[in-house]
């Protein structure tokens, strides 16, 4: 008895839960450290000094002989990132005057501000707020000075002077920015905002399409389960659909919906815009259709299971009271299967949130100039191309100009995707548990 429990725990935790938990923790910790400001350090001999920022604020607790650092140099002066010997960093100083200047359209600079000039003349820099017409003179590590226009500067962080709380504030603001902002610099800077909006719009639209389809299909199969023939064939087809590779759904939707239906819609309703396509090209609507088709088997199977789990005794009781089959379905069976349908939908959503391959054929893009949701009529732009977390992950990993520069965003992207999918799965788990408990409570 105790041995079987032990082995079950070993199996359960050792082989499945632990690796999953460890992976999750690793990705989340990594993502949380993104944009976490560390102290700026001075390394190298005096004649070739360099100002660097370790990419993790906890680099002292890490392992490995070298530490990955960002070099806040002027554009075109060597690589933006490099590895530094751990020993060298440990003995490095952190000059108080050093600041980080974050720029809108280029990488960050590390330097010592010298003076600020505006229309009224120049004054020494004393951490005053910069107006738009001000110019900042900044001394860089190699001794050169650089003049920056106030309009180029996104923010100026006095990291080496700030206390822990101020740096914490920096970090939280940076994290929020990473989640909310629009991407810049080939997606390596800025944030995930459009991809988050795109992903959630896709998932919402997919749910709106798959819910009625799935429920009606499940009801059809449930009501016709004894009649053999077509219903049995449909049941087999549904289970087989779940095994079709997801990219095939993308290909199917591209041919049948985008070129077929979309082309027809364009010719009929948007002829004045041709030859530039409106619905005849990939877009949010078609991507949602592909996802709905992809997840239909999940919704149908789980809903059907819920319908069939309603005890025969209850159905007989309802029929014996003079209810028709339809009344029994609507008043008794469907309410009892509500939880199962919700579980199916959430499983479908978490599948859809993580699926990328079919989307690449039907409307997802690296960078969408406009959100599919806007204050302009008709507010939701179904025909528009959109950004998606999963695709952004792929794009950052494969197509970023510099992998090191893309790494922080890559980590955040992976973590966001994981958090979304995981929390949806947890909701499904909780719902099912509640449903089972509810049924136990109510059933004889």
């Amino acid at each position: 008895m105790s041995r079987s429990i032990l082995s079950r725990w070993l199996l359960g935790f050792g082989f499945f839960l632990l690796p999953v938990a460890a992976l999750l923790l690793l990705i989340l910790l990594d993502a949380l450290q993104v944009r976490m400001p560390a102290r700026l350090l001075e390394v190298g001999p005096p004649q070739a000094r360099e100002w660097v920022m370790p990419q993790s604020a906890f680099w002292r607790f890490g392992w490995g002989a070298q530490v990955f650092v960002q070099r806040g140099q002027a554009d075109g002066v060597g690589a933006e990132f490099r590895w530094v010997e751990r020993g060298e960093l440990e003995s490095a100083s952190a000059p108080e005057a050093l600041v980080r200047v974050r720029r809108f359209d280029a990488s960050a600079l590390f330097g010592i501000p010298v003076e600020v000039c505006d229309g009224a003349g120049c004054t020494a820099w004393r951490n005053q707020p910069l107006t738009a017409d001000a110019r900042l003179r900044l001394e860089l590590a190699d001794g050169r000075q650089m003049v920056l226009s106030g309009t180029d500067i996104a923010a100026l962080d006095t990291l080496n002077r700030d206390g822990t709380f101020k740096r914490l504030g920096h970090w939280l603001r940076a994290l929020a920015g990473v989640v909310i902002d629009a991407p810049r610099n080939a997606n390596t800077e800025g944030g995930m905002g459009p991809a988050l909006v795109g992903t959630s719009m896709l998932v919402l639209l997919m749910s709106a399409i798959v819910s009625p389809l799935g429920v009606f299909a499940a009801i059809y199969l449930y009501m016709n389960q004894d009649r053999g023939g077509f219903a049995r064939l449909a049941r087999a087809a549904i289970s087989n659909l779940a095994a079709v590779p997801s990219v095939l759904y993308g290909a199917f939707v591209m041919v049948a919906f985008v070129y077929g239906l979309g082309g027809f819609i364009d010719q009929t309703f948007f002829a004045h815009r041709l030859p530039s396509p409106t619905f005849g090209t990939g877009g949010l609507l078609w991507a949602a259709c592909a996802m709905a088709l992809l997840t239909l088997p999940i919704v149908v199977t789980v809903t059907l299971e819920g319908l069939e789990r309603v005890p025969q005794g209850l159905i007989e009781a309802s029929l014996a009271l003079g209810a028709t089959r339809e009344e029994t379905l609507i008043r008794l069976v469907l309410p009892l299967a509500r939880g199962a349908f919700l579980t199916g939908l959430i499983l479908a959503i978490s599948r859809a949130a993580g699926e990328v391959a079919p989307l690449m054929l039907v409307g997802v893009v690296k960078s969408a100039p406009q959100l599919p949701l806007s204050p302009d009529y008709p507010y939701i732009h179904l025909e528009q191309k959109f950004m998606h977390l999963g695709h952004q992950l792929y794009d950052l990993a494969v197509h970023a100009p510099s992998f090191e520069a893309a790494l922080p965003m890559l980590k955040v992207c992976a973590a966001l995707l994981l958090v979304i999918v995981l929390s949806l799965n947890l909701i499904a788990f909780a719902l099912r548990a509640r449903l089972i408990r509810g049924m136990e409570n109510m059933l004889p």
């Binding site: 029929l319 014996a320 003079g322």
Partner: protein, 252 residues
């Protein structure tokens, strides 16, 4: 001589590979408690399910012969089974309350009949609960899940659910077989009280129960009607040997 409610002629039911009922002919009278007794597997439940056509739910069931309910044939495709079931209520072997509140369990059937007004629903639910003697026990917990009640209370709730919609006949499929002796006694008293308002057809394998509550008894064995007649006569002076053996406990 009271009126015949069910006239059954030459009724046979066959499942895929099993003959459940064989050429049964029987008439059941109004405002009587008719008991159908017999060993398990003798087809008495199948017989009961023919009377409200619940037997239709089994796609393998093959029913032949004729059943007339108050002069109207009720077997065959053209019959409106929904209307039939509205007139012939049923209580099952195990209490099967809907996963709803006590109130909603009874209101379920009333709503099917088109009762919508809250006052009317309240009144009829209360009347049904009073008729089964459950009102004083559940009046304060009407909105609690029905499954919280004890098994015996649940079964009386099932009686209330069936009679709330005012059927003419009550089919009882071993209604006390899952209950303790006290609850069984209450159910028997209830059956006795309901006799004035409904025609009751009681399937049971409990001979004492049949003897206590019924006016008329039919003994089934192996899918065939062995003997039927007035209960007192059946239990004191059975004509068939099989009946005597069963009643005296030598068989079954």
């Amino acid at each position: 001589m009271s009126e015949v409610v069910f006239q059954i002629d030459d009724l046979s039911v066959r499942f895929a590979n099993r003959q459940a009922l064989r050429s049964l002919t029987l008439s059941l009278k109004q405002h009587e408690v008719s008991a159908i007794i017999g060993p398990s597997g003798c087809g008495k439940s199948t017989f009961l399910r023919c009377l409200n056509r619940l037997v239709d739910l089994d796609p393998e069931a093959n029913v032949s012969g004729s059943i007339c309910f108050k002069g109207q044939a009720i077997l065959g495709r053209a019959v409106d089974v929904i209307a039939l079931r509205a007139r012939v209520g049923m209580v099952f072997q195990r209490p099967n309350p809907f996963p709803l509140s006590i109130f909603e369990n009874i209101a379920y059937g009333l709503r099917l009949r088109g009762y919508r007004r809250a006052a009317e629903l309240d009144e009829r639910v209360e009347a049904a609960l009073k008729a089964v003697g459950l009102w004083t026990e559940v009046a304060s917990i009407l909105l609690e899940p029905a499954a919280r009640l004890s098994l015996g209370q649940q079964q009386r709730l099932m009686f209330a659910r069936a009679i709330a919609v005012e059927p003419e006949v009550l089919l009882l499929d071993e209604p006390a077989s899952a209950l303790d002796p006290i609850s069984t006694l209450k159910i028997e008293e209830l059956i006795f009280a309901l006799k004035d308002r409904f025609t009751v057809i009681l399937v049971t394998h409990n001979m004492q129960q049949a003897a206590r509550v019924s006016d008329f008894t039919a003994f089934l064995s192996g899918g065939e009607l062995i003997e039927s007649g007035e209960t007192t006569r059946m239990f004191t002076n059975p004509t068939a040997k099989a009946t005597e053996d069963y009643i005296t406990g030598r068989v079954g």
